[in-house]
């Protein structure tokens, strides 16, 4: 099979939903961490309770990405039960970013509500 590269411009609903959920998920992660620093498993627990995620695997790439973007930092903490675990916290940049997200989220909610209740 030989084909030239396909540039994908997928703009279907599934993708939109995924993008939206991803954005919200990132916002939720930052929000959880804004209250207190915690392990990945703590974040997972909270997000699962809020039914934002179904499986844990969703979270890890996001944490990595946010860490690489400088929004999060982590330190290794020894665990009694096993290998050392990453202990995440928000950086200064992350807090500023979260504040911006809070604002834009509120703006979005207001806009949507305004339109939906009209």
């Amino acid at each position: 099979m030989k084909r030239k590269l396909i540039k994908l411009h997928i703009m279907d609903l599934e993708n939109n939903k995924a993008q939206m959920r991803k954005g919200i998920l990132e916002y939720c992660i930052l929000s959880v961490l804004s209250r207190s620093s915690c392990y990945a498993s703590d974040i997972i627990k909270e997000l699962k309770e809020a039914e934002v995620i179904v499986v844990e695997g969703t979270l890890y790439p996001l944490l990595t990405r946010q860490k690489n973007a400088g929004l999060l930092s982590y330190r290794w903490e020894e665990s009694q039960q096993g290998p050392p675990r990453k202990y995440y916290e928000l950086t200064e940049e992350g807090r500023n970013y979260l504040a911006e997200l809070d604002k834009s989220w509120q703006g979005l909610v207001d806009s949507v509500n305004q339109i939906r209740t009209r």
Binding site: I6, A40, G57, Y60, L62, N68, G82
Partner: protein, 529 residues
């Protein structure tokens, strides 16, 4: 009975795992690896997940005990399979359906002329070079390859959207796509994105592809020129046809539908239509005829423009709608015309006759009602049929000049017979109509009084109505006519003359005629002009 166990190291922690669980775990880790390997920061994610796996295993078994299939499945349920990580890092979430219906498209991603071969290749999951060779090969046989190619080019849509591409590749879409994505990477590394990469193709295929690419360009240019010429002629044809149609039907431009028998009569079909068909049907006939004619012409122009500028538009729905409208118009028109035609199906005749009480040597014919006293807007002459129609638009009345036949009657008697004829759906209807035709004739002494025209009742459409007057007189009788009644005689077509010395015409004004054995003849050749 102990199963074979394997020692593995996950994220720095050693576990014992049985063989079955190991296989599942290995596949799972491989899937995770494939999922994140090419993502930025993916290795770290993989480490995180492995670390979490270790943590879960530890919480389930501690450091002792053998990891079983159940443990692994429980772990996978917690972390989830890669396809459940519902977000896109740089590629989209796979579609929710796995089995694709397959359709043939032209492949815009790998094309030489239009992507037909490549599209067939994708459809049949085969190398497109094969079809390129076949097309060229069969072009040698009376151009069948070329023709087939053009047909496919027109028939096959281009796979533009992603869902169309999925349909084009069918179930191979994901493999084709991932292959392309990895090709993408290779190309990016080499910095040669524009060079098509056929990593797995044979050198023969490559050479073929290059040759065909070159031939393809030349073919393409020739084809484009060819198509532009066809396009221009289509546009011109359509445009001129519509123009002439509009001129004739809207601006009443004479010429096409006119008769020039006396250089005076222009027949403008829509004007007369009202009197030929049921008046309520006339606007429909005109409208439907216009649609039935204009639509194909518009289509011609559109195709022409498309060929000239070579674009593809989402015109399927419009074309289909246009076609359906056209078919419906033609069907409706046929039904209406058929229905109108039926009203001419049966003929009804009524005749009445009067006989002169004595036989005069000289018979005077005078006109009763005269055309010269009529108010009419339109005149239509069918000279060969000796039939002249006058129409009064305001009163919607039709007057028709009948013809007078003069025959030899062997008895020494002068007899006038008037036959009225109409057509209708049934014979009864036709008879009724014929009865309705108003035509008067009378005899007073030596004088026969004939109306110069008969009248169709106001509002009633024309039904091939006709009135014929047969005057039977003995040979040698002299006929003296006034100018109006002579018009009836001028319509006389039974007169047949080989040597052409006399032909009934407007110029001929004699008014004194006689009946000979060969028919009627002017008594003197002096023109009364």
């Amino acid at each position: 009975m102990m199963d074979k166990t394997i020692n593995i190291n996950i994220s720095g922690t050693l576990f014992q795992i049985d063989e079955e669980a190991f296989r599942i775990l290995r596949d799972y880790l491989l899937a995770i690896n494939n999922r994140f390997r090419n993502v930025q920061g993916g290795l770290e994610t993989i480490e995180d997940i492995e670390s979490r796996i270790a943590e879960i295993f530890q919480s389930q078994k501690g450091l002792a005990g053998v990891i079983t299939k159940e443990n692994v499945e429980a772990m996978i349920a917690i972390i989830g399979k890669p396809e459940d990580f519902d977000h896109g890092d740089y590629e989209a979430v796979p579609p929710p359906y796995t089995s694709q219906k397959k359709r043939m498209y032209r492949n815009p991603e790998d094309k030489i002329i239009s992507g037909v071969s490549s599209g067939i290749g994708a459809y049949l999951n085969t190398d497109p070079v094969i079809f390129r060779v076949l097309f060229v090969l069969f072009t040698v046989f009376f151009g069948t390859g070329f023709l087939l190619y053009i047909i496919l080019w027109i028939a096959l849509p281009e796979a533009k959207s992603d869902s169309q591409k999925r349909e084009m590749y069918g179930d191979n879409f994901h493999s084709a796509r991932s292959q392309n994505l990895s090709t993408d990477k290779i190309n990016n590394v080499n910095g040669s994105v524009n060079t098509p990469s056929y990593s797995s193709s044979s050198s023969v295929g490559n050479a073929f592809n290059e040759i065909f690419r070159a031939i393809g360009r030349v073919c393409y240019i020739i084809l484009r020129i060819f198509l532009i010429i066809i396009g221009v002629s289509l546009v011109l044809t359509g445009f001129l046809a519509i123009l002439s149609f509009v001129l004739v039907f809207i601006f009443h431009y004479p010429g096409t539908f006119s008769t020039h028998e006396f250089g005076t009569n222009f027949v403008y079909i829509p004007d007369f239509l009202n009197y030929i068909v049921t008046p309520s049907a006339a606007p429909w006939i005109i409208a439907l005829t216009t649609i039935a004619f204009i639509l194909p012409m518009l289509a011609l122009i559109y195709w022409g423009v498309k060929m000239i500028f070579w674009f593809r538009a989402k015109d399927g729905v419009v074309s289909l709608a246009g076609f359906v409208i056209w078919v419906l118009s033609v069907a409706a028109l046929s039904i209406i015309l058929f229905n109108e035609g039926i009203s001419f199906a049966e003929t009804g005749k009524i005749s009445s006759e009067k006989i002169f009480t004595h036989t005069p040597d000289t018979l005077y014919i005078k006109a009763g009602k005269k055309v010269s006293d009529l108010k009419f807007d339109k005149e239509l002459s069918l000279t060969h049929e000796a039939y002249t129609v006058f129409i009064n638009e305001e009163k919607k009345e039709i007057y028709i000049r009948p013809h007078l036949n003069v025959n030899n009657f062997w008895d020494n008697v002068v007899k006038v017979e008037v036959r009225k004829r109409s057509t209708g759906r049934t014979q009864f209807e036709a008879m009724k109509k014929a009865e309705g035709l108003s035509y008067n004739f009378d005899i007073t002494g030596d004088t026969l009084i004939l109306d110069e025209y008969f009248e169709i009742p106001s509002g009633r459409k024309w039904s091939a109505d006709n009135v014929s007057i047969d005057l039977s007189i003995p040979v040698g009788t002299i006929l003296k006519l006034d100018s109006a009644s002579e018009n009836l005689l001028h319509a006389y077509s039974g007169y047949d003359n080989d040597d052409n010395t006399f032909s009934p015409g407007w110029e001929y004004r004699n008014r004194i005629w006689t009946l000979t054995d060969e028919g009627i003849k002017p008594l003197s050749t002096h023109s009364s002009k």
